[in-house]
Symmetry: C2
Subunit: 376 residues, 2 copies
C-alpha cells in the first residue's frame, strides 16, 4: 500500500515565496536542519528545483533550504543571470558545477555558511540520484527522506498553478479541435500529430501528442506513425500542452467516416465512465472510489477493463501523485488537480479513451477542459 | 577531476544484443553477480533502460541482468505487448508496478529465480533514485556502483547508433535551412521555433528548438519569445532532432538584415574556433585540447569566453559524456560522437554560437551535420 498522508494544512493560497516558509515549518516539525537537492542532467523533466525556485530547465544545479535561514540556489555560472531573473529565491549563485565534485564542494561551503555541517538534512529521494546522494554523504551530513512532505504539498495546487494548468488545458482543447477539423483531409497519424503539436507550440510549449487510428487505438502507447486516417474507425487523440512548466493531459475519441455500430457504441460507454467518475470527485473521497466508479461502468458494459490506471495527478509532471486507482490510499482535498482517463482496448481491433482534467473544489469538481470541447 | 576511464575494448561494432554480453563480461570482471535498474517517472529523458533493451518511454519499469544468465525486462502490464515487440531482450514480463512496492517485490522474485538473492548487484547510480535504491537494499542485496562502466560503453557508439544520430543531424540541418528561408518574413522568435519544430516532428521527433535574435542572443539559454525577428542583427538557432531515441544538436548564427560590421565579424571568429577545434579531433587526443583550441581563437579575438563548456557527447541524451572541456580527463577514441559549440556573449548586446556534431573516426573526425549546411 502506498499511504500518502493527506495534509491538514491548506496550501492552495501559497505563493512561490511562502512555499519555502511552509517547507521550513515542515523541516522543523520533522526535526531536520535543512533540505538539499542537486540535479545533474534531464533538464526538461526535473521538477524539484522548478517547484522550489520557479526556475526551469536547469542542469547541474542545486538548492539548499536551511530550516531557519535564507535558501540558496546554486546554478552553472553561465545560467546565473537568467536564474536571478526567474528565481523566487533571492540568493542565487553562479558556480562551477562540472565536474560534479566542484558542485558538491560548493554545497559543502553553503552547508558551513548556514551551520548545516554535520546536521540532519532532508532530500527528495524520489528525484535525487544515488550518485549525488553518495557525494552528499561524503560531506558528513545525515541524509533523511523528505519526499513525502514535498509530494503532499505538490498535490495541492496554488491558485497560480491552477491558472497555468487551465491555460494548458485550453491550448490542448484547441489542438484537439484542430485535429477534428483536419480529419476529412485523410492525413497520416503523424501529420495530424505535427499539426496539433505546432498549434500548441505557438501558444505554449507542445508537451506530447499521440494520434491513434483504428486498430492502432487498441494499443494505448502507440505513438502515431504513417498510418493514414481515412475510412471508418475510431481516432484516439491524447495530448497535453505545457504552460510555464505546468501540464494538461486531455484525450478524446473521434469518429472517422462511419464506424460500425459496435465500434460507435464504445466511446459512449467510456463517456459514461468519465461522467460517473466525475460525479464522485469531491474533498473527502478516497481516490479508489473515483476509479471504481469508472470501472463499474466498463464492467457493466462487458467491455474489457483498461490495464492502465484510471487517473493521476497533473502538474509539473504530466503523471504525478495522487494516482487515482485502487491500492492508493489518498483522500481527495480541495486543490488537487487530477486527470481521469478510462479507456477500453480490443487488441488489434479498436480502442477508446476519454480523458478530462479536473480541479477538486470545496464542493466537488471543476472541469478544466474548455467548456466548448465536447466529451466526444 | 572527473577521470572517466577510456575503454580498451572496441564497442563500435556491438549490436544491441551483444551489448548485454559485454555488460555481463564487465560484471564478472568487477566481481558482481548482476545488475539492476528501475525507473519511476520521467519516461522521455530516461536512458538506462532504452540503452539496455531498446525500449523507450517506459515509466515504472526495471531490468535485471544476471552476470551469467538471461536478462529480464519488467514493465507495467499494459506495456507488455509493445515492450515484447520492441525489446532486444527475449524475457519481457508485464507486472503490476504501482505502488512501487509491488514492482520491488517482482524484482525480488527475479533475484531469487536467478540466484541473485543476497549477492553483489551493480547499479547505474547516475540514474537510479535514492527511493528505489533504499527499496532495493531492503531486498537484502549488496549494491555496488556500476555507472562508470555503462558510461564508458555509451561513449563509444555502435554503427546503428551513429546512423540514427546522422539522420537526426540531417533533420536538424533541414530545420535550420527552413528558419533561414523564413527570415525575410519577419516572424516572431517563437513562430520560427514552431516552424522548425513542426518540420522536425514530421521527419522524426522534434527534440528542442531555441531561436534568439539580437540582444536575446546574448543570453545563451533564452528560449524564444514574442520578439520579432526583423531589422538588423544576429539570429542564433540552436536545435536538435531525435531519431529512435538518438539526438542531434546543431547551432548556426544567421544574419538578419544588415548587421553592423562589429556584429558581423563575431560569427566569423566563432566559425574559426569551430574549425580549429575540429582540426584537433582524432583518437588519442585529450578532450581538453579540443576545448583549448576553440578557446584560443576566442582569446586572440578579444571577445569574451563563453561560460559554458565548449562541447559534450551526444547520444540518447542531448548532453552526455564526454564533456569536452578543461578539467575532464578523457582521451578521444573512434566511435565517440561529440558536439562542439563555441560561442561568445556580449550581455544585452548580441551573441553568437556555432555547433557541429562530429564522429571521431580512426583517422580524425567526420562531420555529421549535412554537407549542404554552411557553418555560417
Amino acid at each position: 500500500m502506498n499511504a500518502i498522508r493527506s495534509s491538514s494544512e491548506d496550501y492552495s493560497e501559497l505563493t512561490n515565496a511562502n512555499r519555502i516558509e511552509a517547507i521550513q515549518r515542515k523541516l522543523q516539525m520533522s526535526g531536520l536542519d535543512g533540505f538539499v537537492h542537486y540535479q545533474t542532467g534531464r533538464a526538461k523533466e526535473n521538477v524539484t528545483i522548478p517547484y522550489l525556485t520557479g526556475v526551469r530547465g536547469l542542469e547541474d544545479s542545486g538548492v539548499i533550504i536551511p530550516a531557519s535561514s535564507e535558501p540558496v540556489l546554486l546554478v552553472k555560472d553561465f545560467e546565473e543571470s537568467r536564474a536571478k531573473r526567474q528565481s523566487s529565491l533571492a540568493d542565487v549563485r553562479g558556480v562551477t558545477t562540472l565536474p560534479i565534485e566542484r558542485a558538491i564542494a560548493s554545497i559543502g561551503e553553503v552547508f558551513k555558511e548556514k551551520g548545516l555541517a554535520g546536521k540532519r538534512i532532508g532530500i527528495d529521494e524520489s528525484e535525487l540520484t544515488v550518485e549525488v546522494y553518495n557525494k552528499l554523504l561524503s560531506l558528513g551530513v545525515s541524509i533523511v527522506p523528505f519526499a513525502t512532505e514535498l509530494i503532499s504539498m505538490r498535490m495541492v495546487k496554488t491558485a497560480a498553478e491552477v491558472k497555468r494548468i487551465r491555460e494548458a488545458a485550453a491550448i490542448a482543447g484547441a489542438a484537439i479541435e484542430k485535429v477534428r477539423s483536419l480529419v476529412p483531409e485523410g492525413l497520416e497519424e503523424r501529420e495530424l500529430a505535427a499539426e496539433a503539436s505546432n498549434l500548441m507550440q505557438r501558444s505554449g510549449e507542445a508537451s506530447f501528442v499521440s494520434v491513434q487510428f483504428g486498430p492502432n487505438a487498441s494499443f494505448p502507447h502507440h505513438r502515431g506513425d504513417s498510418t493514414r486516417v481515412r475510412g471508418d474507425g475510431l481516432l484516439v487523440v491524447d495530448l497535453g500542452a505545457n504552460v510555464e512548466g505546468y501540464n494538461s493531459d486531455i484525450t478524446r475519441t473521434l469518429y472517422v467516416g462511419s464506424p460500425s455500430e459496435r465500434h460507435r457504441n464504445i466511446p459512449d460507454v467510456i463517456k459514461l465512465a468519465v461522467s460517473d467518475a466525475i460525479e464522485k470527485v469531491r474533498p473527502g473521497v478516497p481516490v479508489k472510489e473515483v476509479a471504481l466508479a469508472a470501472r463499474r461502468v466498463i464492467q457493466n458494459s462487458g467491455l474489457p477493463q483498461p490495464r492502465h490506471r484510471i487517473g493521476h495527478g497533473i502538474g509539473l509532471n504530466v503523471h504525478e501523485k495522487p494516482i487515482v486507482e485502487e491500492g492508493f490510499e489518498y483522500v481527495l482535498q480541495a486543490g488537487n488537480v487530477i486527470a481521469i482517463e478510462p479507456g477500453t482496448y480490443l487488441d488489434g481491433d479498436t480502442g477508446s479513451r476519454i480523458e478530462v482534467d479536473l480541479l477538486v473544489t470545496e464542493s466537488g469538481a471543476e472541469l478544466l477542459d474548455p467548456k466548448s470541447l465536447p466529451l466526444l
